[in-house]
Symmetry: C3
Subunit: 162 residues, 3 copies
Amino acid sequence: MNDLTPDTEALVRSLAQRVALLEDKLAITELMTAYGPAIDSGSAEAVARLWTEDGVYDVDTGVMRGHAEITAMVRSQAHQSWIEGGCGHVLEPGHTRVDGTTAVSTCKSQLIIRDGDSFKVHRVTATRWNLEKIDGQWKVTVRTSRVLDGRAEARDLLAAGL
Amino acid sequence: MNDLTPDTEALVRSLAQRVALLEDKLAITELMTAYGPAIDSGSAEAVARLWTEDGVYDVDTGVMRGHAEITAMVRSQAHQSWIEGGCGHVLEPGHTRVDGTTAVSTCKSQLIIRDGDSFKVHRVTATRWNLEKIDGQWKVTVRTSRVLDGRAEARDLLAAGL
Amino acid sequence: MNDLTPDTEALVRSLAQRVALLEDKLAITELMTAYGPAIDSGSAEAVARLWTEDGVYDVDTGVMRGHAEITAMVRSQAHQSWIEGGCGHVLEPGHTRVDGTTAVSTCKSQLIIRDGDSFKVHRVTATRWNLEKIDGQWKVTVRTSRVLDGRAEARDLLAAGL
Protein backbone atom coordinates (compact mmCIF):
# COMPACT_ATOMS: atom_id res chain seq x y z
CA MET A 1 0.00 0.00 0.00
CA ASN A 2 2.90 2.31 0.62
CA ASP A 3 3.75 1.78 -3.02
CA LEU A 4 0.26 2.51 -4.24
CA THR A 5 -0.65 5.52 -2.19
CA PRO A 6 1.84 8.10 -3.52
CA ASP A 7 0.63 7.29 -7.04
CA THR A 8 -2.95 7.65 -5.90
CA GLU A 9 -2.22 11.02 -4.36
CA ALA A 10 -0.72 12.23 -7.62
CA LEU A 11 -3.72 10.88 -9.52
CA VAL A 12 -6.10 12.69 -7.18
CA ARG A 13 -4.25 16.00 -7.71
CA SER A 14 -4.45 15.49 -11.45
CA LEU A 15 -8.14 14.54 -11.29
CA ALA A 16 -8.87 17.68 -9.28
CA GLN A 17 -7.42 19.80 -12.09
CA ARG A 18 -9.23 17.86 -14.79
CA VAL A 19 -12.55 18.08 -12.99
CA ALA A 20 -12.07 21.83 -12.53
CA LEU A 21 -11.54 22.21 -16.29
CA LEU A 22 -14.68 20.19 -17.06
CA GLU A 23 -16.60 22.37 -14.60
CA ASP A 24 -15.27 25.49 -16.31
CA LYS A 25 -16.43 24.24 -19.70
CA LEU A 26 -19.94 23.46 -18.44
CA ALA A 27 -20.10 26.78 -16.56
CA ILE A 28 -19.29 28.57 -19.82
CA THR A 29 -22.07 26.67 -21.57
CA GLU A 30 -24.46 27.66 -18.78
CA LEU A 31 -23.44 31.30 -19.16
CA MET A 32 -23.94 31.30 -22.92
CA THR A 33 -27.24 29.40 -22.79
CA ALA A 34 -28.62 31.99 -20.36
CA TYR A 35 -28.46 34.64 -23.06
CA GLY A 36 -31.33 33.23 -25.13
CA PRO A 37 -33.96 32.98 -22.39
CA ALA A 38 -32.90 36.42 -21.11
CA ILE A 39 -32.94 38.28 -24.43
CA ASP A 40 -36.16 36.69 -25.73
CA SER A 41 -38.03 37.38 -22.49
CA GLY A 42 -36.73 40.94 -22.32
CA SER A 43 -35.06 40.34 -18.96
CA ALA A 44 -32.72 43.31 -19.28
CA GLU A 45 -30.84 42.87 -15.99
CA ALA A 46 -30.37 39.15 -16.60
CA VAL A 47 -28.88 39.91 -20.02
CA ALA A 48 -26.47 42.52 -18.64
CA ARG A 49 -25.39 40.31 -15.72
CA LEU A 50 -23.80 37.89 -18.20
CA TRP A 51 -21.18 40.56 -18.93
CA THR A 52 -18.57 42.08 -16.63
CA GLU A 53 -19.50 45.56 -15.36
CA ASP A 54 -17.58 47.18 -18.22
CA GLY A 55 -18.19 44.32 -20.67
CA VAL A 56 -18.61 45.09 -24.37
CA TYR A 57 -21.24 43.82 -26.79
CA ASP A 58 -20.00 44.66 -30.26
CA VAL A 59 -22.56 44.08 -33.02
CA ASP A 60 -22.69 45.20 -36.65
CA THR A 61 -25.07 47.99 -35.86
CA GLY A 62 -23.18 49.46 -32.90
CA VAL A 63 -21.13 48.85 -29.79
CA MET A 64 -22.59 48.69 -26.27
CA ARG A 65 -20.23 49.25 -23.34
CA GLY A 66 -21.19 48.33 -19.78
CA HIS A 67 -24.42 47.17 -18.17
CA ALA A 68 -26.36 50.42 -18.67
CA GLU A 69 -25.94 50.37 -22.45
CA ILE A 70 -26.81 46.68 -22.64
CA THR A 71 -29.98 47.02 -20.57
CA ALA A 72 -30.94 50.08 -22.65
CA MET A 73 -30.72 47.92 -25.80
CA VAL A 74 -33.00 45.27 -24.29
CA ARG A 75 -35.50 47.95 -23.23
CA SER A 76 -35.31 49.82 -26.55
CA GLN A 77 -38.35 50.14 -28.77
CA ALA A 78 -36.45 48.20 -31.45
CA HIS A 79 -35.87 45.16 -29.25
CA GLN A 80 -39.33 45.33 -27.65
CA SER A 81 -40.81 45.23 -31.14
CA TRP A 82 -39.00 41.96 -31.91
CA ILE A 83 -40.33 40.45 -28.70
CA GLU A 84 -43.91 41.62 -29.17
CA GLY A 85 -43.93 40.54 -32.78
CA GLY A 86 -42.56 37.10 -31.87
CA CYS A 87 -38.88 36.19 -32.03
CA GLY A 88 -36.27 33.68 -30.92
CA HIS A 89 -32.52 34.13 -30.67
CA VAL A 90 -31.33 30.57 -31.23
CA LEU A 91 -27.76 29.55 -30.42
CA GLU A 92 -25.76 26.57 -31.59
CA PRO A 93 -23.21 24.90 -29.28
CA GLY A 94 -20.02 26.95 -29.03
CA HIS A 95 -16.54 25.83 -29.98
CA THR A 96 -14.83 26.70 -26.69
CA ARG A 97 -11.15 27.01 -25.82
CA VAL A 98 -10.30 27.52 -22.16
CA ASP A 99 -6.90 28.93 -21.16
CA GLY A 100 -6.74 29.22 -17.38
CA THR A 101 -9.15 31.97 -16.35
CA THR A 102 -9.89 33.19 -19.87
CA ALA A 103 -11.77 31.46 -22.66
CA VAL A 104 -13.02 32.06 -26.18
CA SER A 105 -16.14 30.45 -27.60
CA THR A 106 -17.14 30.72 -31.26
CA CYS A 107 -20.50 29.85 -32.77
CA LYS A 108 -23.44 31.13 -34.76
CA SER A 109 -26.76 32.52 -33.68
CA GLN A 110 -29.99 32.88 -35.58
CA LEU A 111 -32.57 35.58 -35.07
CA ILE A 112 -35.87 34.04 -36.06
CA ILE A 113 -38.92 36.26 -36.31
CA ARG A 114 -42.58 35.68 -36.89
CA ASP A 115 -43.68 36.17 -40.48
CA GLY A 116 -47.45 35.85 -40.77
CA ASP A 117 -48.47 32.30 -39.87
CA SER A 118 -44.94 30.97 -39.77
CA PHE A 119 -41.44 32.30 -39.09
CA LYS A 120 -38.33 33.28 -40.99
CA VAL A 121 -34.61 33.58 -40.34
CA HIS A 122 -34.03 37.31 -40.12
CA ARG A 123 -30.30 36.83 -39.85
CA VAL A 124 -27.57 34.34 -39.07
CA THR A 125 -24.61 35.78 -37.26
CA ALA A 126 -21.06 34.67 -36.44
CA THR A 127 -20.42 35.37 -32.79
CA ARG A 128 -17.35 35.21 -30.56
CA TRP A 129 -17.56 35.25 -26.77
CA ASN A 130 -14.47 36.40 -24.91
CA LEU A 131 -14.85 35.19 -21.37
CA GLU A 132 -13.09 35.65 -18.07
CA LYS A 133 -13.37 33.91 -14.73
CA ILE A 134 -13.60 36.49 -11.97
CA ASP A 135 -14.04 35.50 -8.32
CA GLY A 136 -14.95 32.01 -9.49
CA GLN A 137 -17.62 33.15 -11.96
CA TRP A 138 -17.39 33.18 -15.72
CA LYS A 139 -18.49 36.44 -17.37
CA VAL A 140 -18.45 37.85 -20.89
CA THR A 141 -15.81 40.55 -21.37
CA VAL A 142 -16.45 41.10 -25.09
CA ARG A 143 -19.02 39.53 -27.37
CA THR A 144 -18.53 40.28 -31.05
CA SER A 145 -21.22 39.48 -33.60
CA ARG A 146 -21.06 39.87 -37.39
CA VAL A 147 -23.85 38.95 -39.76
CA LEU A 148 -22.94 36.19 -42.24
CA ASP A 149 -23.99 38.06 -45.35
CA GLY A 150 -20.74 37.38 -47.17
CA ARG A 151 -18.63 40.04 -45.46
CA ALA A 152 -15.01 39.05 -44.81
CA GLU A 153 -15.19 40.26 -41.21
CA ALA A 154 -17.67 37.53 -40.26
CA ARG A 155 -15.57 34.81 -41.89
CA ASP A 156 -12.42 36.12 -40.21
CA LEU A 157 -14.15 35.98 -36.83
CA LEU A 158 -15.03 32.32 -37.42
CA ALA A 159 -11.57 31.39 -38.71
CA ALA A 160 -9.95 32.97 -35.64
CA GLY A 161 -11.97 30.65 -33.39
CA LEU A 162 -10.30 27.51 -34.67
CA MET B 1 2.14 11.08 4.28
CA ASN B 2 -0.06 10.65 7.31
CA ASP B 3 -0.60 14.40 7.13
CA LEU B 4 -1.45 14.36 3.46
CA THR B 5 -3.83 11.43 3.32
CA PRO B 6 -6.76 12.79 5.35
CA ASP B 7 -6.78 15.87 3.09
CA THR B 8 -6.63 13.66 0.05
CA GLU B 9 -9.52 11.58 1.32
CA ALA B 10 -11.63 14.72 1.74
CA LEU B 11 -10.66 15.87 -1.75
CA VAL B 12 -11.65 12.49 -3.18
CA ARG B 13 -15.07 12.67 -1.51
CA SER B 14 -15.56 16.15 -2.90
CA LEU B 15 -14.41 15.07 -6.37
CA ALA B 16 -16.86 12.17 -6.30
CA GLN B 17 -19.73 14.61 -5.75
CA ARG B 18 -18.49 17.03 -8.40
CA VAL B 19 -18.05 14.25 -10.97
CA ALA B 20 -21.55 12.97 -10.20
CA LEU B 21 -22.95 16.45 -10.90
CA LEU B 22 -21.05 16.68 -14.21
CA GLU B 23 -22.39 13.23 -15.14
CA ASP B 24 -25.92 14.37 -14.31
CA LYS B 25 -25.56 17.41 -16.56
CA LEU B 26 -24.29 15.35 -19.50
CA ALA B 27 -26.96 12.69 -18.89
CA ILE B 28 -29.61 15.43 -19.13
CA THR B 29 -28.11 16.63 -22.40
CA GLU B 30 -28.17 13.06 -23.72
CA LEU B 31 -31.83 12.73 -22.73
CA MET B 32 -32.81 15.99 -24.43
CA THR B 33 -30.79 15.32 -27.58
CA ALA B 34 -32.54 11.96 -27.98
CA TYR B 35 -35.83 13.74 -28.60
CA GLY B 36 -34.89 15.07 -32.04
CA PRO B 37 -33.76 11.79 -33.66
CA ALA B 38 -36.78 10.05 -32.10
CA ILE B 39 -39.46 12.53 -33.13
CA ASP B 40 -38.10 13.10 -36.67
CA SER B 41 -37.80 9.37 -37.35
CA GLY B 42 -41.26 8.67 -35.93
CA SER B 43 -39.85 6.34 -33.27
CA ALA B 44 -42.92 6.57 -31.05
CA GLU B 45 -41.70 4.30 -28.24
CA ALA B 46 -38.32 6.03 -28.13
CA VAL B 47 -40.05 9.40 -27.80
CA ALA B 48 -42.32 8.22 -24.97
CA ARG B 49 -39.45 6.53 -23.09
CA LEU B 50 -37.89 9.95 -22.48
CA TRP B 51 -40.79 10.75 -20.15
CA THR B 52 -41.75 9.09 -16.87
CA GLU B 53 -44.71 6.68 -17.20
CA ASP B 54 -47.14 9.45 -16.28
CA GLY B 55 -45.03 12.25 -17.74
CA VAL B 56 -46.73 15.26 -19.32
CA TYR B 57 -46.04 16.96 -22.64
CA ASP B 58 -47.84 20.27 -22.56
CA VAL B 59 -47.90 22.09 -25.91
CA ASP B 60 -49.96 25.04 -27.16
CA THR B 61 -52.29 22.79 -29.03
CA GLY B 62 -52.99 20.33 -26.23
CA VAL B 63 -51.68 18.33 -23.30
CA MET B 64 -50.50 14.72 -23.56
CA ARG B 65 -50.40 12.67 -20.35
CA GLY B 66 -48.49 9.39 -20.13
CA HIS B 67 -46.77 7.20 -22.70
CA ALA B 68 -49.92 6.14 -24.55
CA GLU B 69 -50.90 9.73 -25.41
CA ILE B 70 -47.36 10.62 -26.43
CA THR B 71 -46.97 7.62 -28.75
CA ALA B 72 -50.43 8.37 -30.19
CA MET B 73 -49.21 11.88 -31.09
CA VAL B 74 -46.14 10.49 -32.87
CA ARG B 75 -48.29 7.99 -34.78
CA SER B 76 -50.99 10.54 -35.60
CA GLN B 77 -51.74 11.50 -39.18
CA ALA B 78 -50.71 15.07 -38.35
CA HIS B 79 -47.21 14.09 -37.21
CA GLN B 80 -46.76 11.47 -39.94
CA SER B 81 -47.54 14.18 -42.49
CA TRP B 82 -44.71 16.35 -41.17
CA ILE B 83 -42.31 13.42 -41.43
CA GLU B 84 -43.38 12.37 -44.91
CA GLY B 85 -43.30 15.94 -46.16
CA GLY B 86 -39.83 16.49 -44.70
CA CYS B 87 -39.19 18.06 -41.32
CA GLY B 88 -36.63 18.59 -38.59
CA HIS B 89 -37.19 19.46 -34.94
CA VAL B 90 -33.98 21.33 -34.15
CA LEU B 91 -32.96 22.03 -30.55
CA GLU B 92 -30.52 24.56 -29.16
CA PRO B 93 -28.41 23.73 -26.07
CA GLY B 94 -30.48 23.98 -22.88
CA HIS B 95 -29.86 26.26 -19.94
CA THR B 96 -29.90 23.61 -17.24
CA ARG B 97 -30.15 23.91 -13.46
CA VAL B 98 -29.69 20.73 -11.44
CA ASP B 99 -30.96 20.55 -7.86
CA GLY B 100 -30.23 17.09 -6.46
CA THR B 101 -32.47 14.64 -8.27
CA THR B 102 -34.55 17.25 -10.09
CA ALA B 103 -33.55 19.64 -12.84
CA VAL B 104 -35.00 22.27 -15.14
CA SER B 105 -33.67 22.98 -18.62
CA THR B 106 -34.87 25.89 -20.74
CA CYS B 107 -34.25 26.41 -24.44
CA LYS B 108 -35.88 26.92 -27.81
CA SER B 109 -36.74 24.50 -30.54
CA GLN B 110 -37.44 25.07 -34.20
CA LEU B 111 -39.76 23.04 -36.36
CA ILE B 112 -38.37 23.28 -39.87
CA ILE B 113 -40.42 21.92 -42.74
CA ARG B 114 -39.83 21.42 -46.41
CA ASP B 115 -41.20 24.18 -48.61
CA GLY B 116 -40.76 23.30 -52.27
CA ASP B 117 -37.05 23.12 -53.08
CA SER B 118 -35.94 24.53 -49.77
CA PHE B 119 -37.22 24.71 -46.18
CA LYS B 120 -38.86 27.17 -43.84
CA VAL B 121 -39.16 27.69 -40.11
CA HIS B 122 -42.70 26.67 -39.32
CA ARG B 123 -42.37 27.74 -35.72
CA VAL B 124 -39.90 28.60 -33.00
CA THR B 125 -40.95 27.54 -29.54
CA ALA B 126 -39.86 28.24 -25.97
CA THR B 127 -39.58 24.95 -24.15
CA ARG B 128 -38.97 23.98 -20.54
CA TRP B 129 -37.98 20.46 -19.50
CA ASN B 130 -38.75 19.47 -15.92
CA LEU B 131 -36.60 16.45 -15.18
CA GLU B 132 -36.27 13.91 -12.42
CA LYS B 133 -33.65 11.27 -11.68
CA ILE B 134 -35.41 8.01 -10.88
CA ASP B 135 -33.44 4.84 -10.15
CA GLY B 136 -30.35 6.53 -11.53
CA GLN B 137 -31.97 7.60 -14.81
CA TRP B 138 -33.04 11.09 -15.82
CA LYS B 139 -36.54 11.31 -17.25
CA VAL B 140 -38.86 14.14 -18.32
CA THR B 141 -41.72 14.70 -15.87
CA VAL B 142 -43.23 17.69 -17.67
CA ARG B 143 -42.20 19.36 -20.91
CA THR B 144 -43.93 22.66 -21.60
CA SER B 145 -43.72 24.33 -25.01
CA ARG B 146 -45.12 27.67 -26.06
CA VAL B 147 -44.72 29.18 -29.52
CA LEU B 148 -42.78 32.47 -29.57
CA ASP B 149 -45.38 34.45 -31.51
CA GLY B 150 -45.37 37.33 -29.06
CA ARG B 151 -47.56 35.75 -26.40
CA ALA B 152 -46.64 36.60 -22.81
CA GLU B 153 -46.83 32.95 -21.77
CA ALA B 154 -43.81 32.04 -23.91
CA ARG B 155 -41.76 34.92 -22.57
CA ASP B 156 -42.72 34.07 -18.98
CA LEU B 157 -41.59 30.49 -19.53
CA LEU B 158 -38.18 31.73 -20.69
CA ALA B 159 -37.82 34.27 -17.89
CA ALA B 160 -38.60 31.59 -15.30
CA GLY B 161 -35.66 29.52 -16.56
CA LEU B 162 -33.07 32.07 -15.51
CA MET C 1 -7.10 4.81 8.17
CA ASN C 2 -5.98 1.43 6.94
CA ASP C 3 -9.64 0.57 6.61
CA LEU C 4 -10.51 3.73 4.72
CA THR C 5 -7.68 3.93 2.26
CA PRO C 6 -8.35 0.82 0.16
CA ASP C 7 -11.92 2.11 -0.43
CA THR C 8 -10.57 5.50 -1.34
CA GLU C 9 -8.11 3.95 -3.74
CA ALA C 10 -10.91 2.08 -5.47
CA LEU C 11 -13.00 5.25 -5.63
CA VAL C 12 -10.08 7.14 -7.16
CA ARG C 13 -9.63 4.47 -9.84
CA SER C 14 -13.32 4.64 -10.62
CA LEU C 15 -13.29 8.46 -10.71
CA ALA C 16 -10.34 8.39 -13.10
CA GLN C 17 -12.40 6.30 -15.54
CA ARG C 18 -15.49 8.46 -15.14
CA VAL C 19 -13.53 11.67 -15.65
CA ALA C 20 -11.91 10.21 -18.75
CA LEU C 21 -15.37 9.45 -20.17
CA LEU C 22 -16.58 12.99 -19.45
CA GLU C 23 -13.44 14.33 -21.14
CA ASP C 24 -14.12 12.14 -24.16
CA LYS C 25 -17.68 13.48 -24.45
CA LEU C 26 -16.55 17.11 -24.28
CA ALA C 27 -13.69 16.43 -26.71
CA ILE C 28 -16.24 15.03 -29.19
CA THR C 29 -18.36 18.16 -28.77
CA GLU C 30 -15.28 20.31 -29.40
CA LEU C 31 -14.49 18.31 -32.55
CA MET C 32 -18.02 18.64 -33.91
CA THR C 33 -18.34 22.34 -33.05
CA ALA C 34 -15.13 23.06 -34.97
CA TYR C 35 -16.85 22.08 -38.21
CA GLY C 36 -19.10 25.14 -38.39
CA PRO C 37 -16.44 27.86 -37.98
CA ALA C 38 -14.18 25.94 -40.40
CA ILE C 39 -16.72 25.35 -43.16
CA ASP C 40 -18.28 28.82 -43.02
CA SER C 41 -14.89 30.56 -43.09
CA GLY C 42 -13.66 28.35 -45.92
CA SER C 43 -10.77 27.02 -43.82
CA ALA C 44 -10.23 23.96 -45.97
CA GLU C 45 -7.35 22.41 -44.01
CA ALA C 46 -9.17 22.93 -40.71
CA VAL C 47 -12.23 21.16 -42.11
CA ALA C 48 -10.20 18.19 -43.37
CA ARG C 49 -8.22 17.87 -40.12
CA LEU C 50 -11.44 16.90 -38.31
CA TRP C 51 -11.41 13.63 -40.26
CA THR C 52 -8.87 10.80 -40.18
CA GLU C 53 -6.49 10.80 -43.17
CA ASP C 54 -8.78 8.41 -45.06
CA GLY C 55 -11.98 9.67 -43.43
CA VAL C 56 -15.20 9.72 -45.43
CA TYR C 57 -17.77 12.50 -45.79
CA ASP C 58 -20.84 10.93 -47.34
CA VAL C 59 -23.49 13.45 -48.42
CA ASP C 60 -26.56 13.11 -50.64
CA THR C 61 -24.77 14.67 -53.54
CA GLY C 62 -21.62 12.58 -53.40
CA VAL C 63 -18.98 10.89 -51.29
CA MET C 64 -15.64 12.47 -50.41
CA ARG C 65 -12.80 10.17 -49.33
CA GLY C 66 -9.69 11.49 -47.59
CA HIS C 67 -8.38 14.97 -46.88
CA ALA C 68 -7.69 15.93 -50.51
CA GLU C 69 -11.30 15.40 -51.58
CA ILE C 70 -12.63 17.22 -48.52
CA THR C 71 -10.40 20.27 -49.02
CA ALA C 72 -11.32 20.26 -52.72
CA MET C 73 -15.00 20.52 -51.74
CA VAL C 74 -14.31 23.50 -49.47
CA ARG C 75 -12.31 25.22 -52.22
CA SER C 76 -14.83 24.39 -54.95
CA GLN C 77 -16.67 27.12 -56.78
CA ALA C 78 -19.93 25.74 -55.40
CA HIS C 79 -18.88 26.10 -51.77
CA GLN C 80 -17.13 29.44 -52.32
CA SER C 81 -20.38 30.75 -53.79
CA TRP C 82 -22.26 29.88 -50.60
CA ILE C 83 -19.66 31.70 -48.51
CA GLU C 84 -19.54 34.78 -50.69
CA GLY C 85 -23.30 34.97 -50.90
CA GLY C 86 -23.63 34.62 -47.12
CA CYS C 87 -24.25 31.34 -45.35
CA GLY C 88 -24.17 29.55 -42.01
CA HIS C 89 -23.98 25.82 -41.34
CA VAL C 90 -25.72 25.63 -37.97
CA LEU C 91 -25.48 22.50 -35.81
CA GLU C 92 -27.65 21.35 -32.94
CA PRO C 93 -26.15 19.45 -29.98
CA GLY C 94 -25.42 15.84 -30.89
CA HIS C 95 -26.85 12.75 -29.25
CA THR C 96 -23.57 11.00 -28.52
CA ARG C 97 -22.82 7.42 -27.52
CA VAL C 98 -19.24 6.59 -26.56
CA ASP C 99 -18.03 3.00 -26.60
CA GLY C 100 -14.38 2.90 -25.59
CA THR C 101 -12.39 4.49 -28.40
CA THR C 102 -15.28 4.76 -30.85
CA ALA C 103 -18.37 6.92 -30.69
CA VAL C 104 -21.45 7.82 -32.71
CA SER C 105 -23.14 11.20 -32.55
CA THR C 106 -26.45 11.94 -34.26
CA CYS C 107 -27.98 15.35 -34.86
CA LYS C 108 -29.29 17.75 -37.48
CA SER C 109 -27.65 20.60 -39.27
CA GLN C 110 -29.15 23.54 -41.10
CA LEU C 111 -27.66 25.30 -44.07
CA ILE C 112 -28.92 28.86 -43.89
CA ILE C 113 -28.27 31.17 -46.82
CA ARG C 114 -28.82 34.82 -47.48
CA ASP C 115 -31.99 35.61 -49.39
CA GLY C 116 -32.19 39.30 -50.19
CA ASP C 117 -32.43 41.29 -46.96
CA SER C 118 -32.93 38.26 -44.77
CA PHE C 119 -32.06 34.56 -44.81
CA LYS C 120 -33.68 31.24 -45.48
CA VAL C 121 -33.17 27.61 -44.54
CA HIS C 122 -31.80 26.05 -47.67
CA ARG C 123 -31.87 22.59 -46.16
CA VAL C 124 -32.09 20.68 -42.89
CA THR C 125 -30.08 17.50 -42.80
CA ALA C 126 -29.85 14.43 -40.59
CA THR C 127 -26.21 13.77 -39.85
CA ARG C 128 -24.32 10.95 -38.15
CA TRP C 129 -20.72 11.30 -37.02
CA ASN C 130 -18.76 8.07 -36.62
CA LEU C 131 -15.78 8.92 -34.47
CA GLU C 132 -12.60 7.23 -33.36
CA LYS C 133 -10.00 8.10 -30.76
CA ILE C 134 -6.56 7.71 -32.27
CA ASP C 135 -3.41 8.55 -30.30
CA GLY C 136 -5.57 10.35 -27.76
CA GLN C 137 -7.40 12.49 -30.32
CA TRP C 138 -10.97 12.12 -31.52
CA LYS C 139 -11.40 12.22 -35.30
CA VAL C 140 -14.27 11.67 -37.71
CA THR C 141 -13.99 8.38 -39.60
CA VAL C 142 -17.30 8.70 -41.48
CA ARG C 143 -19.83 11.51 -41.49
CA THR C 144 -23.08 10.67 -43.23
CA SER C 145 -25.62 13.38 -44.07
CA ARG C 146 -29.07 12.96 -45.62
CA VAL C 147 -31.46 15.82 -46.29
CA LEU C 148 -34.74 15.59 -44.35
CA ASP C 149 -37.02 15.98 -47.35
CA GLY C 150 -39.14 12.97 -46.44
CA ARG C 151 -36.76 10.29 -47.72
CA ALA C 152 -36.67 7.10 -45.63
CA GLU C 153 -32.86 7.09 -45.61
CA ALA C 154 -32.72 10.25 -43.50
CA ARG C 155 -35.25 8.91 -41.01
CA ASP C 156 -33.40 5.58 -40.79
CA LEU C 157 -30.18 7.42 -40.04
CA LEU C 158 -31.86 9.23 -37.14
CA ALA C 159 -33.57 6.12 -35.79
CA ALA C 160 -30.24 4.25 -35.78
CA GLY C 161 -28.76 6.91 -33.51
CA LEU C 162 -31.07 6.12 -30.60
